[in-house]
Structure formats: structure tokens, C-alpha cells
Amino acid sequence: MSAGDTPVNSPEIRRLARVLEPGHSYESVTDKIASIVLTRPVSIGWLAGFSIAFTLMMVLMGSIAWLITKGVGIWGINIPIGWGFAIVNFVWWIGIGHAGTLISAILFLLNQQWRTSINRFAEAMTLFAVACAGIFPLIHTGRPWMAYYMFPYPSTMGIWPQFRSPLIWDVFAVSTYGTVSALFWFVGLIPDLATLRDRATNKPAQIIYGMLAMGWRGSARHWHRYQSAYLLLAGLATPLVLSVHTVVSFDFSIAIVPGWHTTIFPPYFVAGAIYSGFAMVLTIAIPLRAAYDLEDFITMRHLENMAKVMLATGLIVAYGYFFEFFMSLYSGNKFDMFLVQQRLHGPYSSYYFALIICNILTPQLLWFQKVRTNVAALFVMSLVINVGMWLERFVIVVISLTRDFMPSAWGRYQPTFWDWSTFVGTLGLFVSLLFLFVRGLPAISIAEMRELVAHTSKDHE
């Protein structure tokens, strides 16, 4: 580097490179993060946001109650489109969850310091997204009270699940994913729960955090085993997160339906999952840091890095779209070629073009640093990508099913009010859980932030 130190060392570059704003001590990070949970009064904004989200959650409850009363006929699904919104929403939600595990596990293994202040709420996002995702296949079964049939248990009928079916793989993948994400999240929380226990001033908080902290006292012996367990969990969660969306993609690609039966599905689904997940992390991080003055901890560096990950995974997704297209034409298979034509000119072509605009064209703006460091632009873009990824699943599920092989078996799909209310209801559930999480648990890992303070102060000496 003979160019001199001016450009590298310019104040602007240093500002963008920080993972933690200067001037923080162990105590100040503890104070700042713990105070959001323990001392900060409930604001009007929080109450208003929570009320709206909670109302939408009640819409979900109502929709599910009506569904159980009347059956899946209240949705727009019918033969040939048996999957509809339920599966679109399932794949969308489960994909969103993937960014949380990616941030907490893969970036941990890669020793990326910028993961520290975003991993906790990203993991919470994963859990809540998996909770929303899990609802859909369950209620889509038609008789959700029989859902335990999917698990292997010694039944008096002597029957067992069909382990050769991707739908059963899905049951195992999603339930393992939910369990491991919860464990990972909880292990990360233990030292912070001890901090809250020690700082809480009222009895109920002391008792609740005290029980959850399980008597953690920061012993060096405990930390030693804790760190090895955490590292092993990260190592285990990494292949797990890749496997989950791979298995979800098998639900499609094992079938012979045109547009589904392709080998590109697993990597393309995983990339799409991470893409939508990072968009959702940005959608949450940007208001969170503004509402609770966390700009010192969630810095421009974090936002910019997430934008870069979005750009990279977005390009992989674009590659996936291109090759889906190319392989259909190259295969010479007339049903596959017909599907391409349907995407471009069929009754749902507007969805396909909206998808291209949201997922491929818009993110190209992220090549520019001006856009990556513009908080408002990033927020809007994260919403656009969330919509785009939802459209992608709609295109995959609906266009392939409406017109497959025999024109006599073709059909159309029109979502009903209940389709929409169930979907919007899960958004309410997700946001309600996030609101409760922000006020009940530290949204940023305090112990890891203290470690970061130790590292960054060492660098400056």
C-alpha cells in the first residue's frame, strides 16, 4: 500500500469501518442494553406498534378458528392448485429464518466481528419466523388435530410415516431447525440473563431472570465449557441451516411438475432464503436502532455488510432464475418450455415481472456505496426484497400448478379473504413476538459486546 494513508485513514472510511462506536466501556454497554429491558419506560410508540401487531395476531386466531370450523374450503385452493398461499407463506417464512442462523453460526465460525451486535435479534427473528412457518403446513393438512400422524409413534393401527417422502423429511428438518435454533439462542442468552438478574431492582424480574439464568456466575471453568458448546452448536447449525431449505426445495423438486423438477432448486432455495432473511434483518434492525438509540452498536458497517450479503445472494438468485429459464428451453421438453411461456405471457405474468423487478433489478442499486449507506434507501429496499421473495414462491407454486400437462386439468387460483387474513395474521404474530422480545430480553448480546469492547480497546493501545 504505497498510496499513502490518506484514503484508507480518512474519517469517512473509519466511520464506515467501525463495528462499535468509540468511547464505550464494559459498564456503558451493559447499562445501555440492559436499560432497554429494565428501566426504560414503555413508550407510546411501543404500545401503538404492539397494539396493531396484537390486533393482527387476533385476526390470525380468528382465521384459524374459522378454518377449523369450516375446513380448507374457505381458502382459494382446489384441484389442481392444492397448495396455494399456505405453502407460499410456509416457504417464505422458513426462508426468512435462515439469515438468523447464518449470522449466528456461519459468521461466528468465520470470526466476523460485525455479527456481534446483530446476532441476538436475528436469532429471535429466526425463532419467530419458524413459529409462523410451522403454522401453515399444520393448518393446511385440513385436520390439524391429526397432525401427530406425521411423527413416528407406535400407533394402535400399526402404521408408520412414509420416510421416503420429502414431506416427512420436512417435518424432521423444520422441527430440528426450530429446536436447535431455540437451544442456540438460549445458550447465548444465559450470561445476559445473569446480567439482568444482577441488575433488576424489582422482585418479579429478579426471580424470573434468576430462574432463567440458572445460577450462572461467570466462572472461568463454566465459560470454558460454554465456549466449546457454543462453537460446536455453531458448527452443527451451519450444515443444518443449509439442509433445511434444501429439504424444503425437495418438496418441490422430487415432484415431476414442470418448473419444480430441477436440480438447481436446493442451492437456489438456500440462496433465496438467505437473501430474504437478510432483507428481514434489515427491516427489523433499522427501526430498532432508531427507536432505542442503538446507532453506536448497530453501525453503518453492519448495515452496509448486510447490504453486501443481500447483493451477493441476490445475484445467486438471479443466476437461479436465469438457469431455470435456460434449462427449460435447452431441455427441449415441451411442458417445460410451455411453463416459460406461461411465466412470460400467462395469466400470472404480472407476478413474474414484479418478481424480476423486486428481486433482480432493484438490488442492483446496492452496487453503489451511496445507496448502501443510506438508511432510508436500505429500509425501502429490504421491504421490496421481502415482497419479491414472497412473489417468487407464489410464482413457483401457483404458475406450475395452474397449467401442468393436460389442458383439461388446468385451473386458476384466486386467493380469498381468508387466505389474506391468515397471511397478514402471521405478520401480526411475528411482529408481536418481536415487540415483546425487545422489551423482555436484551436485543443485543451484552456479554459479546463486552468482549468486543475488550478487543477494540486492545486494538487502539
Binding site: 413416528p152 430440528t176 445460577g215 461467570g218 472461568a220 470454558h224 465449557r225 460454554y226 463486552r450
Partner: protein, 184 residues
């Protein structure tokens, strides 16, 4: 006041920074104390080494391996048993032992077994949950989850002498040397 003295757990010294604590831990070990532990608000690199805790203290990886193997083998052979003996389904003459189709579930159960063993093994080896500990009687110990770095010499150490050990802790620049007591 001649109340019965509660049982003495050890002596607790406080340090300002991880570096001071590391130096102190080395000196305490050199002085021949064996039953010592440090309490820190975040994992400090090299601390377990300075305290003389080797790799042998860490059974977590082994437990994780056991959990993973247990989960994976159970998962695979369970599916095999279901498909070959308990509920054989002949679908277009495909083999009953269609093992490639069993791999996804086997993989998931491997990860599930390994993760649960890692987490619950770690907690069990750390003897957590443990709601009460004599150290929680020390008011300043609250800082161990904030910005305090503590070193404790336990009273059952053969070299432990209340006055002498307290003086020794002060000599290695520990602040607020406190007796940790507990009612039996």
C-alpha cells in the same frame, strides 16, 4: 456478637481488567494454590490456561459426538426397521431398504442429538442450574456480570490460611478482598 460463624467458602479478590486478573491468576498458581476459580463478565482468552485448566476438563466435545452418533444411528436404523419389518410398503417394486431416502432424516437427527447433548451436557458438567451459591452473598459479586473481574481462593485449599491468604491477595493488587461465607 458471638453468633456462630457461618461456614467459610473462600476469599474473593476483585481486579480492574482482564489483564490484571490473568497476571494474578498466574501468581496465585505459582504460590501453590490449587482450588481457585475466576469469575468474569465475558470469556477471557487464555484465562482457563492461566488457572491451570487443561483440555481434560472439557468433556463437551465428546458428549456432542456421542449425541450425534446416537441420534444418527437411531434415526437410520429406525427408518430401516420401519420400512423393512414394521410397515413394509411395496411401491412399484422399489427396494424396501431404500437407504438414500433415509439420509435426510438421519442427518437431521444427528444434528438434533449432537446439539441437545452439547447444550445439556455443558449445563450438567457446569452443575447448572444451581440457584444458590455462596458467592451470591457478596454484594460486589454483582459486578461479575458487568465489569468486575474476580478471583476466588477456596477455603478447602490445603494452603488456605485466612489472614495469610488475604494478605497474599492484597499483595497481588486485588481490591476489595472479601470473605465469602455461607450458612450451612
Amino acid at each position: 456478637m458471638n453468633l456462630p460463624r457461618p461456614h467459610l467458602y473462600g476469599l474473593l479478590g476483585e481486579f480492574d481488567s482482564p489483564k490484571q486478573l490473568m497476571d494474578a491468576a498466574k501468581k496465585v498458581r505459582e504460590a501453590g494454590y490449587k482450588h481457585i476459580d475466576a469469575f468474569v463478565p465475558f470469556p477471557v482468552e487464555g484465562l482457563s490456561h492461566a488457572l491451570g485448566l487443561g483440555r481434560k476438563h472439557d468433556l463437551v466435545p465428546l458428549l456432542t459426538l456421542a449425541g450425534g452418533l446416537g441420534g444418527g444411528l437411531t434415526g437410520f436404523f429406525f427408518q430401516l426397521w420401519v420400512n423393512m419389518y414394521a410397515y413394509p410398503l411395496n411401491i412399484a417394486g422399489r427396494p424396501l431398504n431404500s437407504w438414500p431416502a433415509f439420509i435426510p432424516v438421519t442427518f437431521e437427527l444427528t444434528v438434533l442429538g449432537a446439539s441437545t447433548f452439547a447444550v445439556f451436557g455443558m449445563l450438567a458438567l457446569n452443575k447448572l442450574p444451581q440457584p444458590h451459591h455462596p458467592l451470591f452473598n457478596v454484594e460486589r459479586f454483582k459486578r461479575a456480570s458487568n465489569d468486575g473481574f474476580f478471583l476466588c481462593i477456596e477455603s478447602h485449599d490445603p494452603k488456605f490460611q485466612l489472614e495469610e491468604t488475604a494478605r497474599f491477595l492484597q499483595s497481588i493488587s486485588a481490591q476489595h478482598v472479601t470473605e465469602v461465607r455461607d450458612e450451612d
